[in-house]
Amino acid sequence: MLAELRDVSFAYPASAERRERPFALSGLTLEIAPGEIVGVIGPNSSGKTTLIRLLTRVLEPEAGEVRLDGVPVRRMSRAELARRVAVVPQGTVPQFPFTVGELVLMGRYPHDPGRYFESARDHAVAREAMEATGVRELADLPLEHLSGGERQRAVIAKALAQEPRLLVLDEPTAHLDLRYQVEAATLLRRLNRERGMGILLVSHDLNLAAEVCDRLLLLRGGRAAALGAPEAVLDPALLAAVYGCEVVVDKSETTRRPVVRLTWKEVRDTR
């Protein structure tokens, strides 16, 4: 298995406002095979981001184990982990005006943390990553001069420069317009097909997840509500129960993938 979470539980420390410690994730098991695209969906605070943090050892699970290629992540160095898993976080905007090229080169850090300047090979990998996401000609521009979609593609190029076997994306289409959602879906499918790269896509966007992913994990309150093929997980009754609103699920005419729509029944009732 490329990545596995085995019976993993985690709770954040109690704060002044919230005395009890609800589990952010409890008893969660998930396997990602090499070259597979898995989507994680679920309402707010259902544990999606916590899952990424556990997978990348930003947090340590209280129970259970996280493994990459069969090796427990707690026995790996951080650099070793970063050579296997690359994360595209939500909205990265550094305060300092780094250029696209500089950002992408940062992805080479885990391959030789002792170096002061990157090697010729590092530069070649970074160039190739920028070509793959179509930001090569933006290399010398500061990130702040880019549009939201371009910036996202630059951050994905940085992740590709890590040459990971698993690419993790946290809400890649949040705050981006329609055309970019199509671009993102196309890019992810292409990276997966051409590089055999495993992808874990965490998203609010059910239709993007259905379009891109081989399997979906639906989270509710830190537990798996469903895990399986998009057609099975995106069940109207199940979604209504998890999200608390009515939906209909159709099939896309072009890709034959499920499409989730709100019925807006609750709004109609107020008319």
Binding site: R53, T56, R57, V58, S77, R78, A79, E80, L81, A82, R83, V85, A86, V87, P89, T92, V93, P94, Q95, F96, P97, F98, T99, E102, M106, G107, Y109, P110, P113, R115, Y116, F117, Q162
Partner: protein, 329 residues
């Protein structure tokens, strides 16, 4: 670019050797430097015992402050952070004043003690700022700056209290030092200053690549393979050491760590691997220049160099706050 800066520093150092209120002729300075002047001659005393140590102190202090500025900026992900703005210089100064009240001076061993007091003061102030603003958690620029200003005011008041309790005869010296004073320091103390600054610089420059990654936020830093806590502690201690040694030897000179890195970012970009060495050189040039202004603008009297850097720095800070850094960026 770095070689251009270094050349500029060499020119500035040489020029400062030949400039000063004593009006030595260039040939007199050359003969003093080459050792041909008589041991007790004016040119020898002025050049080797007054100008040279002063130049060395200015270059060291300027470089150390600028590097500390770059380090604090990376650490807090805040381009306006800087030892004096964060109140850390004031904390170190409080430490020095306490040390001086025990009678510590500038002999080698006493200077080491003074630096220890300054270092403790710097850590105390930084700890206070940390508690108030909880920096490192991506708090807003304003919260951090406000916390720094408050801590700075607190320690300045504490310094005033200590000074009022001090012997009246020693007051003049302390006040002069508090504004930043590059008066010649004994060569033993100067060597110690150089060693401490070198340690601080080495710690920062060897982690310059990691400082770049720090700009992406703490989570991304870890996900790129960096042990974030250890890195932050190292950089924090190095920046505090740089600040403390400057404050102990020449006083709390403000804004160098803000002006120099900012100008260098315009010239070189954001890469800390270039920025940190450039700050060392550029900080030296800037403080040497500021000191020359301080010495000549009201000659034969002289101003404290800290007055000059503040006159440059305060408007510069306001300009940056108004134009470059929006609250929600």
């Amino acid at each position: 670019m770095l070689s251009v800066l270094t050349a500029a520093l060499v020119v500035a150092v040489v020029a400062s050797l030949f400039l000063g209120s004593a009006h030595l002729s260039p040939s007199a300075v050359v003969s003093a430097l080459s050792g041909r002047a008589a041991p007790e001659s004016i040119e020898r005393v002025v050049t080797l015992s007054i100008r040279l140590p002063r130049i060395a102190a200015a270059v060291l202090a300027g470089g150390a402050l600028a590097v500390a500025g770059v380090a604090f900026q990376a650490l807090t992900r805040n381009p306006l952070a800087e030892p004096s703005v964060l109140g850390i210089s004031a904390g170190a100064a409080f430490g020095v004043v306490i040390g001086q009240s025990f009678g510590l001076g500038m002999t080698l061993r006493e200077a080491l003690g003074l630096t220890a007091f300054a270092f403790a003061g710097a850590l105390l102030a930084a700890g206070a700022v940390y508690v108030i603003a909880a920096f490192g958690r991506g708090l807003s620029i304003q919260t951090l700056l406000l916390a720094g200003v408050i801590v700075g005011i607190f320690f300045s008041s504490a310094i005033t209290v200590v000074i009022s309790l001090l012997d009246f005869n020693r007051l003049g010296g302390v006040v002069h030092w508090l504004l930043g004073n590059l008066a010649p320091i004994p060569s033993g103390a100067l060597a110690l200053f150089a060693c401490l600054a070198a340690v601080g610089f080495a710690l920062v420059v060897t982690h310059a690549r990691e400082l770049n990654l720090m700009a992406l936020g703490e989570e991304s830093l870890q996900q790129l393979g960096v042990a974030a806590d250890r890195l932050k502690l190292t950089i924090f201690l190095a920046a505090a050491l740089l600040t403390a040694s400057v404050v102990a030897f020449v006083g709390p000179i403000g804004f160098v760590g803000l002006i120099v890195p900012h100008v260098l970012r315009i010239l070189l970009g954001s890469d800390n691997r270039l920025l940190v060495p450039a700050a060392l050189v550029g900080g030296g040039i800037f403080l040497l220049f500021a000191d020359t202004v301080a010495r000549s603008i009201v000659a034969p009297a002289e101003l404290s160099v800290g007055v000059i850097t503040s006159f440059f720095g305060a408007p510069f800070f306001i300009y940056l706050l108004r134009t470059r850094y929006r609250p929600n960026l």
